[in-house]
């Protein structure tokens, strides 16, 4: 029995296929403007018996692939239980959402917080800011990490932060220091959310943004505790969905 987890995010679509608990296939592609076509493409190139969808495109998947679905919150919680079994707190920063999740013993979701409407402090925020400062996104964290000082960015709103960055550039500030300040503003926002759900160790950091080295370092410093990042943090939701797909079989 091969179970597939399909995570249709705002930025990328991820697929994980399991045989039992063993990962036999993974794939990732940009969501672009056609999430359905992209998801279809990934599913066509893999062999699977049952699929469970998650991510913001989960309702679409339900409609077009008859795939049952769970929220990203449940999927990430399940994925973390697999990849970091000792974690009790999850921070997931994706393309358009930030979520802080606290897990009960046994790994079930006990409480969560999520941004309500704007993309403040999410992957999209970092993407826009990287582009404003002329850094390729892949390199944004590394460049920020090399900054000597830090330009304070007080706003967490994408629109306001953009004008703050514009003034900082006009004032002659070093763009790497501005970059670091922007990372810090994301960390402050994430920290506030984590504290609202309680910060029981260990803390896992998932989602595509967890690959950003500067963010990880600043988060560790800010929280004064170890942060665990799974090997492929962006696949956590898809992994969780694949596991839940397998488990739903046992129950029915």
């Amino acid at each position: 029995m091969r179970t597939a987890g399909l995570d249709i995010g705002s930025r990328s679509v991820k697929l994980v296929v399991l045989r039992g608990e063993e990962i036999v296939h993974t794939a990732i592609a940009d969501t672009g403007y056609d999430p359905r076509g992209v998801a279809e493409g990934l599913l066509d190139q893999a062999a699977w018996d049952r699929v469970l969808a998650t991510g913001y495109g989960r309702t679409m998947a339900q409609l077009h692939f008859q795939a049952p679905s769970v929220t990203e919150i449940k999927a990430h919680a399940r994925g973390v239980r697999q990849s970091c079994p000792d974690c009790r707190t999850v921070l997931d920063i994706g393309g358009q959402d930030t979520k802080a999740i606290s897990l009960a013993n046994g790994g079930k979701v006990a409480k969560f917080e999520m941004n309500d409407r704007c993309a403040a402090g999410t992957g999209k925020f970092l993407e826009i800011m990287a582009s404003n400062l002329g850094f390729p996104l892949e390199n944004f964290g590394a460049q920020a990490l090399h900054a000597e000082g830090m330009q304070q960015i007080s706003s967490m709103c994408t629109v306001f932060a953009e004008s703050e960055v514009t003034s900082a550039i006009a004032g002659g500030a070093d763009r790497r220091e501005i970059a670091k300040g922007l990372h810090m503003s994301v960390v402050r926002r994430a920290t506030a959310m984590l504290k609202r759900v309680s910060l029981t160790p260990e803390v896992a950091f998932t989602g595509g943004v967890a690959q950003n080295a500067c963010l990880l370092r600043l988060l560790r410093e800010e929280l004064q505790q170890e942060i665990v990042v799974p090997d492929t943090p962006d696949m956590t939701g898809a992994l969780g969905a694949a596991l839940l797909a397998a488990e739903s079989d046992h129950r029915s």
């Binding site: 913001y56 769970v70 929220t71 449940k74 409480k111 999520m114 309500d116 409407r117």
Partner: protein, 425 residues
């Protein structure tokens, strides 16, 4: 739409084109949200009728009453004592405030960061699409939150007949005295409006009529404690919404009929949702017609709403007014006593509301509570933290939502609501 209706709206001064648009959106929403529900009690066809006639039949009746000399009073708040209005030979209706309308016009008067409810109240006036408001002989504003207080200053220049009632903000003896003084002032104003001198018998009649209407909704609410719940939250919310403007006697009669059917359903163990559906209590800001956004989302995700701790819900309709007084003063005291118990978030401190939420969660056997806050509604948003803590201390999961009347946050809201229901399972 019949010619008679169009003539009526024209005479009221409505903007017919805008009003047509509003009614068409409303009818589509009702179709999609309410009529698509499965397993509805048959007698809820009463709601369908009232909603299909929302700006037709009821306002027509009220205008007829007006022709016979009865006055129409519009209000924006459950603090306005309907007993006194009835006693003075007038009819009270709640005014429209549940949808965004004429938003660009509204922003000429109010800052963007004003709550949807207040913006909507002004939008319906500026857009000239609320027949109840245009037909009112008196519009009663009330000093609840700062937003509404300042809104009434704006409204005063736009309508000829605004009356503002002051309200206490503490449940102290001074607070009670203030409410007493204000209710007596309101009694005077009502008598001036109608020319009718209210005596004990008239007030007693008013009290009885409003109690009778409330008795029906109390019965409906109590039936929702059954497991499985015999009626959806969306339908029960309609009852609370219609309660605010429907003919009181017809409302009581028809809601009792619905209750009869619900009792039969309970007997048969039949619910509006499968027996294992999570039971949700909604607490917080009022949801006026047609603000069905969050209940629709919650129930589409498979949960059933079993109670509303809201002004359009149990906060607004609970508690009866004592009918036994013999003098006007004794009966007025009973009215004051009932309204002084309303635990609106403008009161400080406001522990009664938290107690009521805990009590409701228990009575309605809620698996979780969704705290519904309108963006920029400071009183309820600020109370939501304490409410969340009190519930979590009792082991009841809480989801705090903050939203408005727009559709822009549907994706994120849906994820949060679904994730909350997942954790209840």
């Amino acid at each position: 739409m019949s010619e008679a209706n169009r003539r009526m709206w024209t005479e009221l001064g409505l903007d017919l084109q805008a009003h047509d648009q509003l009614l068409s959106v409303l009818s589509d929403a009702y179709q999609q949200i309410h009529l698509s529900q499965k397993n509805r009690p048959e007698s809820t066809s009463y709601f369908d009728f009232v909603m299909s006639e929302i700006h037709c039949q009821r306002i027509g009746e009220l205008l007829q009453e007006k022709q016979q000399g009865r006055k129409l009073v519009g209000s924006y708040c459950v603090f306005v004592p309907e007993e006194i209005v009835q006693a003075a030979n007038a009819t009270l209706v709640g005014l429209c405030s549940g949808a965004d309308f004429a938003e660009e016009e509204v922003e000429k008067y109010l800052p963007r960061n004003t709550c949807s409810l207040i913006k909507s109240s002004l939008g319906f006036k500026l857009g000239r699409v609320c027949p109840f408001l245009e037909g009112s002989d008196m519009i009663v504003g009330e000093n609840t939150c700062d937003g509404k207080k300042k809104f009434y200053e704006t409204l005063r220049d736009l309508v000829p007949n605004l009356y503002v009632m002051d309200l206490p903000q503490m449940k102290s003896e001074q607070g009670r005295q203030m409410l007493r003084a204000e209710f007596y002032r309101f009694l005077e104003a009502m008598q001036d409006l109608t020319g009718f001198q209210v005596d004990a018998a008239a007030l007693q009649n008013g009290i009885r009529m409003v109690n009778e209407k409330r008795r029906a909704i109390h019965r409906l609410q109590s039936l929702r404690t059954a497991d499985p719940a015999p009626i959806s939250g969306l339908d029960a919310l309609l009852a609370s919404q219609i309660f605010l403007y429907e003919d009181p006697r017809r409302f009581a009669r028809e809601v009792h009929k619905i209750c009869d059917e619900l009792e039969e359903r309970i007997e048969r163990g039949e619910g509006a949702f499968p027996a294992n559906a999570p039971r949700i209590l909604v607490s917080g800001c009022p949801m006026a017609v047609p603000n069905w956004k969050v209940p629709h989302m919650v129930e589409s995700a498979g949960a059933v709403i079993v109670g509303e701790e809201s002004c359009v819900g149990e906060r607004g309709s609970r508690n009866q007014t004592g009918e036994d007084g013999e003098t006007l003063e004794e009966l007025m005291e009973a009215v004051i006593e009932r309204y002084f118990q309303i635990d609106c978030a403008i009161f400080t401190p406001n522990p009664d509301r938290t107690e009521h939420i805990l009590d409701m969660a228990k009575r309605y056997r809620a698996d979780g509570v969704i705290h519904y806050g309108l963006q920029f509604c400071q009183p309820y948003l600020m109370e939501s933290f304490g409410v969340e803590k009190a519930l979590e201390d009792k082991g009841i999961p809480v989801l705090r939502l903050e939203t408005d009347y727009s559709q822009e946050d549907l994706g994120q809201l849906q994820t949060r609501v679904e994730a909350f229901l997942e954790l209840l399972k």
